[in-house]
Each structure stands twice: as structure tokens, then as C-alpha cells.
Amino acid sequence: MIGILVVTHGDFSKEIVKSAELIVGPQDNYKVLGLKHGDNIEKFESNVLDQIESLSSKEGVLVFVDLYGGSPFNTIAKNLNKLNDSINLECISGVNLPIVLEAFLNRDELNLSDLKNHCLKIGKESIRDIKQDLY
């Protein structure tokens, strides 16, 4: 099964998965990591790498980060070369609830590359002008 890692600032990662589980039920084979105020960035980086390692299988790992250019993003980005050698990995920034739901619901049926593309599409489509849709 494709492993899912959510890395964010603060408790967002833990809570977004809890919110997703409220909708689609309990999940497994995922990890969450939050960067807290005062955390040592090197320690955080090694945690991220350890978690990716622990989720790794031949199906691969899909990583979500919250903010393009933020520390969780930077941590993944700077290690991508190294990770690519050993792990089938895809990363998406701008995590939102719709893409987490889609990742959980479709990871048994899609391969990692297709799951990534599906999540990118859903993530973008889910941001809508509600008044425009209604009136």
C-alpha cells in the first residue's frame, strides 16, 4: 500500500488526518509530523527521513507538505536527490482536506504517479467560489 506522510507547521498534519478519518474512517500506513516552535531543524529533518523510510515499500510514498517554500517543504526538497535513489517518492505542497481524502480513498487502486496526478487535480478543483456556484 502506498504510504502517506503529512509534514506541516504545527499540529495541522495530525489534525488534517484526524479530520479526514472523521469522513472516511480510520486509516493506516500513514505518518504525520509537525514542526513546532523551538524544534531543532536538524532533528526535524532526520525525523522526516526516518518516517519516509518507515513508510517505504515498492508501492512508494506520497508526501504532503503545507506551504510551498516553508521548512517542511525545504526539508523534503533538499533531500530529494538522495531519497530518489532509494525510494519511490512523490511530494505535493499546499495540502488540503480534499486531497488527503482522495489519497486515502484511491491509494489501493492507483499507482504512485497516477495518485499524485489525481491529488493535484482534486486539490486545485476543490478551491471554488461558492457564491458563484450558487447564484
Binding site: 469522513i23 472516511v24 474512517g25 481524502l101 480513498l105
Partner: protein, 157 residues
């Protein structure tokens, strides 16, 4: 007769659990909301319609129109029927819609209702309706999301 893939009592009608988990597991491509009150309120009907993914067609009808629609020829659609109250399902069954399974997914606490099982609350009248449905050979069970255990309602009535 249309192919009904799920009939669900849920007072929130279309919401997160329905548009993600249930529509995926049932492969429904149509949702029929059956509710006389919502059907007479075009704005609420619109709100329900935009709440569903674009791949799912949503119809909102009162009981009579819903019966007519469900009795039409099966053209390959997989229809999810959503209602707020169990007596709507009884009306459908009484009018000849062959419902064999009823999923109870959301009946919140409100005056006149008591907790039946966890967050599912029912009034005495609603209990009677469930009993009648079971007499009509409808298998009634509580299941909030597809991953959750299915609880047969009969022993709680």
C-alpha cells in the same frame, strides 16, 4: 426499475461522508434526495446540487415524483437514495419501490428523540417505522462510514 445502490437515512443528506466514502464504494453516479420540504425550496435544492462532485448528478424530489422516477427503466445509472427520515423510506416501499437494504447513517439528537445506538437517535414513532420496514423485509442497519462495522438495528428497537 432504477438500480438503487444505497438507500440512506441521514439528516444532513449530502455531506463529506456521502460524497467521498459512500459514493466511492457504491460507484453511484446519481443521487436522488427524497424530501418534500427540500424539494419545495429551490435554493436548498441548489445547495445540495453543488455539494456533490461534478461526476454525480443530483435530483431533489418529493415522494410522489421520486417514486415515479425510481420506477422508470434502468438505463445503467447507479442511484443513491438519500432521505432525512425513515418514514420517507416507508412511503417509497409502500408505493412499490423495492428497497431491501436501508443504511442508517445520521439521525441526530433532537426533542422527542432518544439515543438508540451511539449518535443515532430516534423517536418512538421512528422506532415503529423501522419495525414496519423490517416487517416489509427491509434489512435495516446502522453504518456511518463504509469502514465502520454494520450494526443491525433490530435488537435495539
Amino acid at each position: 426499475m432504477k438500480n438503487i445502490v444505497l438507500t440512506r437515512v441521514d439528516d444532513r443528506l449530502i455531506h463529506g461522508q456521502v460524497i467521498t466514502a459512500w459514493s466511492k464504494i457504491t460507484s453511484a453516479n446519481r443521487i436522488l434526495v427524497v424530501d418534500d420540504e427540500v424539494a419545495s425550496d429551490p435554493f436548498m435544492a441548489k445547495v445540495l446540487k453543488i455539494a456533490a462532485p461534478s461526476t454525480v448528478k443530483v435530483d431533489v424530489h418529493g415522494i410522489e415524483e421520486a417514486v415515479n422516477l425510481l420506477k422508470k427503466e434502468d438505463e445503467g445509472d447507479k442511484v443513491m437514495v438519500l432521505v432525512k427520515y425513515p418514514d420517507t423510506v416507508l412511503s417509497l416501499v409502500d408505493n412499490g419501490v423495492p428497497i431491501k437494504e436501508l443504511n442508517v447513517g445520521g439521525m441526530g439528537a433532537k426533542p422527542g428523540r432518544k439515543s438508540l445506538y451511539k449518535n443515532i437517535s430516534v423517536s418512538e414513532d421512528e422506532k415503529l417505522v423501522f419495525k414496519k420496514l423490517i416487517e416489509h423485509n427491509v434489512n435495516v442497519s446502522i453504518q456511518i462510514v463504509p469502514d465502520a462495522k454494520k450494526i443491525e438495528i433490530q435488537k435495539y428497537l
